[in-house]
C-alpha cells in the first residue's frame, strides 16, 4: 500500500484518538489511565473539525474554551470529526504544547520545555531528549487508546456517544472539581 493510501485509510484512527484525548482531558483530568503515569494531556484552545458531508466541510474553533463549547459538541454530534487540535501535555514541571494532526499524527508548532544547556551540542541533545520524552507520553496514550479501540470497540463508541450527549447538555468539564486532586498536580 502506498504511503498516502496508508495515511488515508488510518485517518479515522487519528481522528478518534484526538477525540479520546479530548474526552479524557475533560472527564479524567487528562490522565492516560495507565499505571504509574502521572502525566496529563488536554485539548488546549484551538481545534479544527472537518466533515466530508454537508455544506460546511471545516469548522475552526479557537480562543476561549472550544473544548467545552456547545458549538464543538453540536458539530461533533452532526458528524464532524477533529482534524487537528492544539494540545497541552504536562508531566511533573514540564510542559509541551503542540498542534496534533489526525491524518498523519503530525506535530506542528511544538514548544518544548526549556533547556539548561548553553552550548549547541548540549542544547540539541536536551531538545532531542525532550522531544522523545513528550512523544513517548503521546505514544503511550495512543497505545492505550488502541488497546480499547481494538479490544472493546462497542464500549468505547458508547462512551464517546454518552460524552457527546453530556456535552450537548452542557454537562462536561474538568473532572473532580478540585484541581489539587488530579494525579499530575505536583
Amino acid at each position: 500500500m502506498k504511503p498516502m493510501e496508508l495515511m488515508e485509510q488510518g485517518r479515522f484512527l487519528g481522528e478518534e484518538f484526538l477525540l479520546w484525548l479530548w474526552m479524557r482531558g475533560l472527564s479524567e483530568g487528562g490522565t492516560s489511565g495507565l499505571e504509574n503515569d502521572q502525566s496529563a494531556c488536554f485539548l488546549d484552545d484551538a481545534v479544527t473539525l472537518s466533515n466530508e458531508q454537508g455544506d460546511c466541510k471545516a469548522l475552526s474553533l479557537a480562543k476561549g474554551n472550544p473544548a467545552e463549547s456547545r458549538e464543538a459538541f453540536e458539530a461533533l454530534s452532526r458528524g464532524f470529526r477533529p482534524a487537528k487540535a492544539k494540545m497541552r501535555l504536562l508531566s511533573g514541571d514540564m510542559e509541551w504544547t503542540f498542534t496534533l494532526g489526525a491524518a498523519g499524527l503530525e506535530i506542528s508548532t511544538l514548544k518544548l520545555p526549556p533547556t539548561q544547556s548553553k552550548d549547541n551540542q548540549g542544547r540539541v541533545a536536551d531538545r532531542l531528549f525532550l522531544l522523545e520524552e513528550g512523544m513517548a507520553h503521546l505514544e503511550r496514550r495512543f497505545e492505550a487508546f488502541l488497546t480499547i479501540r481494538t479490544g472493546n470497540p462497542d464500549e468505547l463508541q458508547e462512551a464517546l456517544r454518552a460524552w457527546l450527549r453530556q456535552g450537548l447538555d452542557g454537562l462536561v468539564g474538568v473532572a473532580g472539581g478540585d484541581a489539587d486532586d488530579l494525579p499530575w498536580q505536583g
Binding site: R81, L110, L128, L131, T150
Partner: protein, 203 residues
C-alpha cells in the same frame, strides 16, 4: 524553526532497511551533498548540508553524529527568472536578430532556442532561494524526525534518502504506528476496523 531553538513542526518516518555504518553514512552525505547551481536551465537543486549552516558542504562529520542520532540538513534551492522579465528580454533579442539578419519572421524552434539562451543567461544573475529542512535519524530506533512539512519537500527527502543510504522512509501515520505499538493485533484486524458512528439522532 530549528532543533536548536524555537518551536518545531515535525513529521516522523519509519526507516526501513539496514542501518549504515558510520563510514557509509558519511559517504552517503558526501556523495549527495548539496552542489550549488552552475550553468544551464536547472531551476531546482537538492542535497545534504550541515544542520547548523547551509553553507557547510558536505555536513561536518563531527556534528552529524549526536549520541544515537545522525543529524543533518536537506537543502532545496530554487531559482526562477521572473516571467515578465524573460518575455521582455526575449522580445528584444528577437527584434535585434530580425534586424541584424534582415529576417521577416523567426521560426518556432529558433524562438525556443533563443528563449532558452536568454533564460540561461538570466538564471546566472538570479539568487537562489534556499529552503532547509532538518533531519534527525535515530539510528538505533529506526525512526527519523524531520522539519520538512510540505509534501514536495517530503517527497524530495524520501527520494534522496533511498539514493544516499539505501533505506526507505514510510510516514508514521496512525495505521503504521498502530501496527508497531500493538504487534499482537494482526494487520488484517487493524485494516478491518471501521470508523465509529458518533452522529446523534437528536442532533
Amino acid at each position: 524553526m530549528s532543533l536548536l531553538q524555537g518551536s518545531l513542526s515535525l513529521r516522523r518516518f519509519l526507516v526501513l532497511g539496514p542501518v549504515p555504518t558510520e563510514d557509509d553514512l558519511q559517504e552517503g552525505l558526501r556523495q549527495d551533498a548539496f552542489r550549488p547551481f552552475e550553468d544551464g536551465l536547472e531551476e531546482e537543486r537538492l542535497g545534504w548540508c550541515d544542520w547548523r549552516n547551509l553553507l557547510i558542504l558536505p555536513p561536518d562529520k563531527d556534528w552529524v553524529t549526536q549520541e544515537r542520532f545522525a543529524i543533518f540538513g536537506l537543502r532545496l534551492d530554487t531559482r526562477k527568472v521572473p516571467t515578465a522579465l524573460l518575455k521582455a528580454q526575449v522580445e528584444l533579442k528577437l527584434q535585434s536578430l530580425q534586424k541584424d539578419k534582415d529576417l521577416a519572421f523567426v521560426g518556432r524552434e529558433a524562438r525556443i532556442s533563443l528563449a532558452d539562451e536568454v533564460k540561461a543567461e538570466l538564471l546566472l544573475k538570479v539568487l537562489p532561494t534556499p529552503k532547509i529542512s532538518e533531519v534527525a535519524w535515530d539510528l538505533k530506533g529506526g525512526m527519523l524526525w524531520t522539519t520538512a512539512s510540505s509534501t514536495k519537500t517530503q517527497s524530495a527527502l524520501i527520494g534522496l534518502f533511498i539514493k544516499s543510504f539505501g533505506c526507505e522512509l514510510q510516514p508514521l501515520a496512525p495505521l503504521l504506528l498502530a501496527g508497531r505499538l500493538l504487534p499482537r493485533v494482526s494487520v488484517e484486524a487493524l485494516m478491518a476496523l471501521d470508523p465509529f458512528d458518533l452522529t446523534l439522532e437528536t442532533a
